[in-house]
């Protein structure tokens, strides 16, 4: 009890509260700019944390990253530009809701269920940190291989298209991830002698290209659509409470999946969102509505990615293994401030640990009012004419892509992926599956090759380890699923 009191005293300091508030606003703004990811928002804060007290420093990181992950949904929803790879899974769904005239509802779902997911993730962090961390340590490369493979299979489930085309898109993504020398062999592949390709294709410019730039390109050929029908949503929160009641199961499932995936180092919010969205569609009673602006998948995936954000801190705090790029930065800040990660942090510095939990909860609660203000402001964007919005988007895409590495080659990447995205979309190839392939490619190859090296070429350990066996079974189920429905439909059609 004393430690809890001490923790509260640590948190409720004017400097800490001010740091949380400012970092939250900052995170909201940066996350909502296309191309600027939550990781970048966090990295830019590091020099500022030099001047802050330890708790305030960690508070800025937590608040900014949580807000940025949510606000990455804003451009995704309003303009079909996912702010972060984590929101790419459900960008199309959210955008479809906007086109139906429900932007506030879509964003309301994002903020509300993000906040709840974040709080539940934090509770898991408090209650389950040691057992969860030990579970994460059971994962060797064999398990990661199945996990990554399973993630890839989601591409066939999320897309509203032919599964064959979805798999083809995903394979193109994997092929793109082969470019460069960031592969297990450290050998440059498909670089055609270009230095800029040595590091591979950056996911963010690619993502912005296929979603945002291709949208601008489409706008060039189509006539301005009629003004969106404005439906009034009195209170955003009121609608949310109704949705919480209507969809309890997806929400709980999203949280659990998010927590589990978040705990595994290397598999962060991105994968949590994909898996949850695919699962939601698979298990929904109305899967045919997915992709048309249906809230169910948004609820599940939105909850999932924020839950994973909190549980991603578990391996970071216990073993110093970053759960994702954001916690990698956070670990640096923890070290710098003398809060060295490790089991001793939980015993010797328990009050600081509790302070961290409290900050998590405060940040997630603060997300609701700040997020609603942000949504109200952002939805003005939709009232401006298209010919005023699109030019600014082009400019923002260019600057945002450039800013991910301060390298003009990234702008070329953006342009190329705009064209690729446009052509693919016109021909029924889902671009979301392409993005999934690009994001997951390295992990699939890395875990596959290193596993084989460790087992001296034998594939037996892929099936003999208990966790690996379960994951393998799940993967084969997902793999056979499109074939199964195809046969089933054939039969039904033959019967009719």
């Amino acid at each position: 009890m004393d430690t809890l009191y001490e923790a509260l005293r640590l948190v409720f300091q004017p400097d800490v509260m001010l740091a949380i508030l400012l970092a939250s606003i900052y995170g909201l703004v940066v996350g909502s700019l296309p191309g600027l990811s939550a990781t970048m928002a966090t990295a830019l804060l590091v020099p500022i944390t030099f001047y802050l007290s330890p708790i305030a420093a960690v508070a800025t990181i937590i608040a900014a990253s949580a807000m940025a992950i949510f606000s990455g949904d804003i451009p995704g929803c309003l303009l079909r530009i996912p702010g972060t790879p984590a929101s790419a899974a459900y960008t199309d769904e959210a955008y479809a809701m906007t086109r139906k005239g429900q932007p506030e509802l879509a964003l309301g779902i994002c903020v509300w269920f993000s906040a709840i997911g974040g709080i539940i993730g934090t509770i898991s962090l408090i209650v389950l940190a040691p057992p969860l961390a030990n579970m994460a340590l059971e994962f060797s490369t064999y398990e990661y291989f199945w996990l990554a493979f399973l993630g890839l299979m989601c591409s066939t489930l999320v897309a509203r298209s032919s599964p064959v085309k979805a798999i083809a898109s995903m394979l193109i993504g994997l092929l793109i991830s082969c470019i460069g020398m960031e592969n297990p062999a450290g050998t440059p592949r498909f670089t055609f002698g270009a230095t800029d390709l040595l590091g591979g294709i950056e996911p963010i410019p690619a993502l912005v290209g296929v979603f945002a730039l291709s949208e601008v390109m489409r706008a060039m050929t189509t006539a301005e659509p009629p003004r969106l029908p404005r439906r009034r949503f009195g209170s955003i929160l009121k609608g949310m409470i109704a949705l919480t009641r209507k969809y309890p199961k997806p929400q709980v499932r999203g949280n659990i999946v998010g927590i589990i995936i978040g705990v595994l180092p290397g598999a962060g919010a991105d994968m949590a969102a994909w898996v949850s969205y695919a699962m939601s569609k698979r298990l929904s009673k109305e899967p045919e509505k997915f992709g048309t602006g249906h809230p169910e998948g948004l609820i599940e995936a939105g909850a999932s990615n924020n839950a994973s954000l909190a549980s991603g801190w578990v391996p970071s705090l216990l073993f110093g293994i970053p759960g994702d790029t954001i916690t990698a930065i956070a670990i640096g800040v923890l070290f710098m401030k003398g809060l060295n990660p490790g089991p001793t942090l939980f015993t010797e510095k328990a009050s600081s640990m509790y302070a961290l939990y409290i900050i998590f909860i405060i940040a997630n609660i603060l997300m609701i009012p700040l997020g609603i203000i942000m949504i109200r402001i952002a939805s003005f964007v939709l009232r401006a004419p298209r010919s005023a919005i699109m030019p600014v988007i082009v400019l923002l895409c260019a600057v945002g892509s450039f800013a991910t590495g301060n390298n003009l080659f990234l702008v070329i990447t953006l342009a190329a992926f705009g064209v690729i995205g446009y052509v693919m979309e016109r021909n029924g190839y889902p671009v979301a599956a392409l993005v999934l392939g690009i994001i997951m490619g390295t992990m699939v190859e890395q875990s596959f090759v290193t596993s084989l090296i460790k087992s001296d070429g034998s594939i037996w350990p892929f099936f003999s380890r208990p966790v690996a066996a379960i994951l393998a079974a799940l993967t084969f189920a997902a793999l056979l699923w499109p074939a199964f429905i195809w046969v089933n439909q054939r039969r039904r059609r033959a019967a009719a």
Binding site: V30, L36, R99, R160, S161, S162, V164, K165, A168, L171, I172, L174, L175, C178, N183, P184, A185, T187, R189, F190, L213, V216, M217, R218, M220, T221, T222, A223, E224, P225, K289, G291, T292, G293, S387, A388, P391, V392, V394, L395, L396, A398, V399, F402, A403, V411, I412, A415, A416, G418, V419, Y422, R426, Y429, F448, V449, L452, I453, D456, Q489
Partner: protein, 165 residues
Amino acid sequence: MHLPDKVSGLFLVGLGVAAAYGGSRLPPVPGQQIGPDVFPMVVGIGLAICGALIALGIGRHFEEEAEADLAAHSDQPAPGATRSKWAVGLKVLLPPALLLFYVVAVDRLGFVPTGAVMVLATALALGARLKLALPLALIAPVGVHLVFYKLLRVPLPDGLLPMPW
């Protein structure tokens, strides 16, 4: 750019074969049994198979069903008819072309003038009147510069027109 499935499928077969061939020519790494060639070959072959299936029209009815679902559940009218083909084709390429212009010009002209050209061109192509496009082209790049250069410390080049901050 709407291609029949036969064309896009065959293109993928070609891409897959090229990737598998390119992968197979990568040198092995000493001390590693699984070299850098394996993954591109697996992906390339997979892609070639998918391409063949697409060219044969397998899975096509899923798309038709999905489109029907989309039409049934969305109250958005179908996008308006497209205009003359060639003009349209060139116009589509305007945004990527402007980005390449950005790459070439930004270091010499500076961010604000380059941005202004991009905004102006896009706005006019989308049918904005000069009354809207010109002020937009003057204000938007300056605003973007302020946020990214000043607050986020992105090193945007000054070029001919350094900003006062």
